[in-house]
Symmetry: C2
Subunit: 386 residues, 2 copies
């Protein structure tokens, strides 16, 4: 059997498994401890009622002879593509540049198929693990270029390392650090990509959390359509993490890539679930958007509460204002796992070790604002009583 050699290059990241096991072991010895998880980046607020009702109506429709429909367009249904173009992008992109997917993670995998095997992929360290893992499994470790990202340089983009990459993944608001790239930074990155003939893959999964006047999309930057693909997701903005819906923008300015992406979606994909596309369309209607914003504000308030608690302790805290994530360092504690144990044992809180997102995350933890308010308030109190 001809096994892909790349599995050797990509040892399994046991981060979450290890977190679960440590949690279990702790609970076994501390049966009465009431643990609160601020660890995983999963939504907790109920689905907006308007969105839920739309799915119910569509389910009814599918059970009638007149309302039933089967395969949809692999690229996504037209009304949803049009709605994303207008409601999310204010017509900065055309609807036929938007390809609906079953989530950003799946498209991160499929995007690898666009580029030749010898293309080098630049990935920030730390970052959302699937960028790196799909690169390793698709083309092996010699095609991975790590771009350094450090809190103490204010998360400056690593132009030096990026020279070696053909494709560059950027995430803003950034997971795990919560950092949002300013317009000027993105202008420099776009200009760099233009000059050096590189492609940017811009992950905007958390764009709806941006409250300040900062770019929500790479296409707010002049000429970005000539160099950038953008990933979007309904998971975090509308509570669709389990329903699975996202999109990828491939501008027509990237002419051949636009055509090739069309080919890939129709060969390796068969469209996102029709009922979920209807739900996505509902989430972007004025009524849906109001409910979506209510959830976002809820998570942001959670994050503010946690940020204040951490700041009051004299800890170094980044992110949070335009992102559901806090990136935290406690002076004197230089190991992410030491911090994990400290939170677990002293505060009965589950957080995510920063080192799980890349070696430069060592010494940091990611705290997420996804959760129920009562848990967040209790967590804040436990932090402050340290």
């Amino acid at each position: 059997m001809k096994r892909s050699p790349y599995f050797q290059d990509a040892p399994v990241n046991y981060l979450f498994q290890e977190m679960i096991e440590k949690r279990k072991a702790f609970q076994k010895n501390n049966k009465t401890a009431s643990l609160i998880s601020l660890g995983i980046g999963d939504t907790t607020q109920p689905l907006p009622p308007f969105v839920s009702q739309t799915m119910k109506d569509y389910a009814t429709k599918l059970s009638t002879k007149e309302g039933y429909s089967g395969y949809g367009d692999e690229e996504g249904c037209k009304p949803l593509r049009e709605k994303i173009a207008s409601a999310v992008y204010k017509d900065l992109v055309f609807s036929d540049e938007i390809f609906i997917s079953d989530g950003a993670k799946c498209d991160i995998g499929r995007l690898q198929v666009l580029f030749s095997k010898d293309a080098k992929i630049g990935i920030e360290n730390p970052s959302y693990p699937p960028y790196k893992e799909s690169t390793l499994l698709y083309r092996g470790k010699e095609h991975l270029i790590e771009l350094n990202l450090h809190e103490d340089t204010d998360f400056a983009f690593d132009f030096k390392q990026a020279e070696y990459a053909d494709i560059i993944f950027i995430c803003s608001p950034h997971n795990p650090t919560g950092h949002v790239r300013h317009k000027k930074e993105l202008e420099e990155i776009v200009s760099f990509a233009q000059k050096q003939n590189k492609i940017i893959i811009f992950d905007s999964a958390y764009s709806f959390f941006i409250q300040d006047d900062l770019p929500r999309s790479i296409y707010e930057i002049p000429h970005a359509k000539e160099v950038a693909i953008e990933l979007g997701s309904f998971s975090k903005i509308a509570g669709f993490s389990g329903l699975r819906l996202g999109w990828t923008v491939v501008p027509k300015e990237l002419s051949q890539i636009h055509k090739d992406w069309k080919r890939i979606t129709s060969t390796f994909f068969n469209g996102a679930s029709s009922i979920v596309q209807q739900a996505g369309l509902a989430a972007l209607q004025p009524e849906g958007l109001k409910e979506v914003d209510r959830s976002i504000q809820y998570y942001l308030k959670n994050t503010r509460i946690l940020k204040e608690a951490c700041t009051n302790q004299g800890w170094k805290v980044r992110g949070g204002k335009n992102s559901p994530y806090l990136w935290v360092h406690i002076p004197g504690k230089d190991s992410s796992w030491e911090l994990f144990n400290h939170f677990l044992e002293k505060m009965h809180l589950i957080i995510t070790p920063g080192v799980g997102f890349g070696s430069n995350g060592e010494g940091y933890i990611r705290i997420s604002g996804f959760g129920q308010r009562e848990d967040v308030l209790e967590a804040a109190q436990r932090i402050q009583s340290q």
Copy 2:
């Protein structure tokens, strides 16, 4: 930009596009003609009411604080995996060998990632186009081995060509020919794969259409778990073509491949839509299965009606009995496109040119039994009045 060179190897298959254009042109000149499509393999019967109700209940649940849930397991929810193991496989496979997907087509793409770049993939000619297209786009044409499949040899498996392949795609009931492989044939193929250290990918998307005592799963064959992966789909069996739900079985006997597939699903995939998984679970409950069978019998009756009409004309007709597809040749007409035009112009029927599934499909057409009964009866009449 480092474009994948494999796009050159895989020119776009314009089959369906060409069909649409020919149809449009015909309609422009024949405004009053009432066309009936027997062409595409898409379901037309409404979703079973029990399945629809389950989705509605789940949508309601998601809109409550207590009932909301986000990310599910990437491998699929446990109850659904267990239900497939018992209801579909009669416990021939274990639930943790079943990986839930958003449809067979997507997994056909992801399966490519399992094997090294130099693995050769054996694909029957004719066959469902994504096997070939994903192979070309993933590893290029020099890694494609075409296995001949001919109606006049009773669709005998091409062992001679299969010698050169490392991985072999088999589909039964077969799309497009409607042929179902007998137990003895599958035993020979499994034994061949065992001796020659090859992996079979067995596509069982149409298994529920099998009415006779023929294998519905490759795992009914002794030792198949040592050599075969199986694809399954809710699309055709329960009308989920637009909802997107399928599965892949990777037996633990394929030890390393089982582990690697787990890795691929968690890296390139984030789980099938939760609401659709609930719908799948409903479809496999006794009440759901009854409704599912009603749809299957409906399509099979359609197929019988069409088969009789074609046979009465003295045409050569294969398939149909245990499959929704007929594979038809009209003596004296040796071009698929000639047949397409004949059906369009003389009968106002849309069928699929067999050559679209591979060069060995030339001279044949695929007629599908998916459609409304009144259309099928009318189509049968048009055929018989030829």
